[in-house]
């Protein structure tokens, strides 16, 4: 190996290290988030989380500052993804309804495919983090609300209380995490499709 190539390697090392570190950190958060969803934030102990990653409890603290930080980051991870989806859908669809359908489908896909889960334990976060998470959630809700209102304006969506509509829709999504298991009888695609249909035209057969 020439000195030059060795030098390059040495230059790459720190980047590799950092990349590795970040990858592992994300793995910790994802794995912990899954445990939180399955067993609840308090029922999932750090020991348990560590073991499921083949690490020891103390090693977790090399990647995260505290258990609460994991919870916080797990929340943020989802909201980042949702922000992305909101943006991705922005230019598409004509009517408010079409836009809403696209976004709602993406949300359902995210939850079934990407292993991301909407966590509900917000009270376990400290004041500041709690506020941040509520803000991020609010941002998503407002994005959806805007689509609903746009739909009401262009007559693609029925007039109703927009807030209640949005909560109705988001509730169904939240509950998804409780019952859906990847690799189960029904595919994520099918669920996303049915969710979009259900929220659009409901369960009733038109007469």
């Amino acid at each position: 190996m020439s000195v030059t190539s060795q030098h390059k390697l040495a230059e790459n090392r720190p980047f590799d290290r950092e990349a590795q570190y970040n990858a592992k950190r994300r793995a910790v958060i994802r794995s912990a988030a899954a445990a939180f969803r399955r067993r609840g934030y308090h029922n999932a102990s750090m020991t348990e989380i560590a073991k499921s990653l083949g690490l020891t409890k103390a090693a977790l603290y090399y990647y995260v500052k505290s258990k609460e930080e994991i919870l916080f980051e797990a929340h943020i991870m989802v909201y980042d993804k949702m922000d992305e989806l909101v943006k991705a859908v922005r230019g598409q669809g004509d009517t408010g309804l079409e836009k809403l359908q696209l976004l709602y489908g993406e949300f359902a896909h995210m939850l079934t495919r990407d292993g991301l889960a909407l966590l509900t334990d917000i009270d376990s976060l400290n004041g500041e983090n709690q506020e941040t998470v509520l803000k991020r959630r609010g941002k998503i809700e407002r994005a959806v609300t805007r689509l609903v209102e746009k739909g009401m304006a262009d007559d693609s969506i029925k007039k109703a209380d927009a807030k209640v509509t949005v909560f109705f829709l988001m509730g169904a999504l939240n509950w998804l995490n409780v019952w859906y298991e990847a690799g189960g009888r029904i595919s994520g695609d099918d669920i996303a499709q049915q969710f979009v249909a259900q929220m659009s035209v409901g369960v009733a057969n038109p007469t």
Copy 2:
């Protein structure tokens, strides 16, 4: 002495005692359940629950055996009420859709009016209680599923995966507890009505 007259006798000590005890016990469970919903099972301490009832922590143990028992009973209380509603609706409505609408409306009412809340922390229950609660939840889901299937059979409800449909509907209900506050801008009746409409015909305007 007839049962009716017994009911009226305030001076009937033994009975009174028991009635009082039971009333207080229910109050403990209701109050605790509210705290669990608001703050989460683990974040709500026994001290906190006691204080909000004007009691001391130790006094709670006169009414309940353990914190877990409270959680269990709080679950059961809701499922008892839901069973009741399922029964109450049984004779009513013609089509599956109509029956489903009636029941769903009743469920929404229960959550907004009666101070009852669907708790999600099942993992904090011990094996036996967990199983019991899951059975009770399953029973409700099956009751709803039956109505959905009946509706599909009598063509009042669109063909689709019944399970997914039910989870979609139940999810929206579960989320209600997170955002709805009694005495807020929107009345429980209005919410119930909109929820029923939404689940029936969706958000899309027919073209």
Copy 3:
């Protein structure tokens, strides 16, 4: 027992309770302070402190909020006593020297007789408590400094840097805790007497 006397008892109960509680709390702090002095703040574990009081670790937390609180209160306890001594000596003695001798003697007595000890671990306190303790220490040092300066003014004390003089004197006191054991060969009275003589006229024999 008459109802009246019973009533009186009931009235006394809370006071007794509170008095008992406070007494026990002080016992906890005193005992812990002794352990801190002997073994150092970090080497003395809560378990150890509890055991030496015939309690369990968790019981300590009924009386104090945290280990740090104990350290803080132990500091304050001493400074309260020293403030008292400063006040008690105020009217006595004519010259600055006489006043200083009286106060210094009292300080030495306090350390040998009352089981109070000057703790040095200030860095283990959080910012706020640290500041408070430093303020209290400063207050005592200033009181002593004033006497020294008064003595220099009335010519009972030799001119020199007052600060250094005070630190010299306080240092000897602080070290007392390290080597003096109650019930040892020398009585506290003798030590106090010799300390006063030593600081006044030094070790040198006048020629």
Copy 4:
């Protein structure tokens, strides 16, 4: 090759290495000792010590076996120096008082000038090291005691309990580390001078 020339040979690798190693090792111990004095043994973490030397925590272990070893060596370093001072003063001075004055002045100089500090945390050492340190401290105290007793014998020092006298004197020295900052308002020389005066003739003005 003579020992002298060996000393001078900068290119003598193995020796150089060892000298460098030892120099670095001493730097580690000195820096750590300073941190121990400022923040306390337990409050000063290995990470912190390493950082202040521009090293990483793990690198420290190339120079020392354990944190406790640092504490031990830091103690020993001071006692070695004090032994040296005791020896240096041995031939000088006539009376016990004169000898004591010389030694005490040297001690004060050492603490203000040389960056050496008397550490008090002995309990954090293991049994064997603890014993060693106590022995070394005892040796110094005995050396001082001998001078005091010699002074009492030759009438240059007042009769009193020699032990108490020594502890009084050593206490003032120990406390020096707490309040003296190099480069402060008062020079080390001035402090040494005043300390010697204070211990000799006290604060009182002869009348």
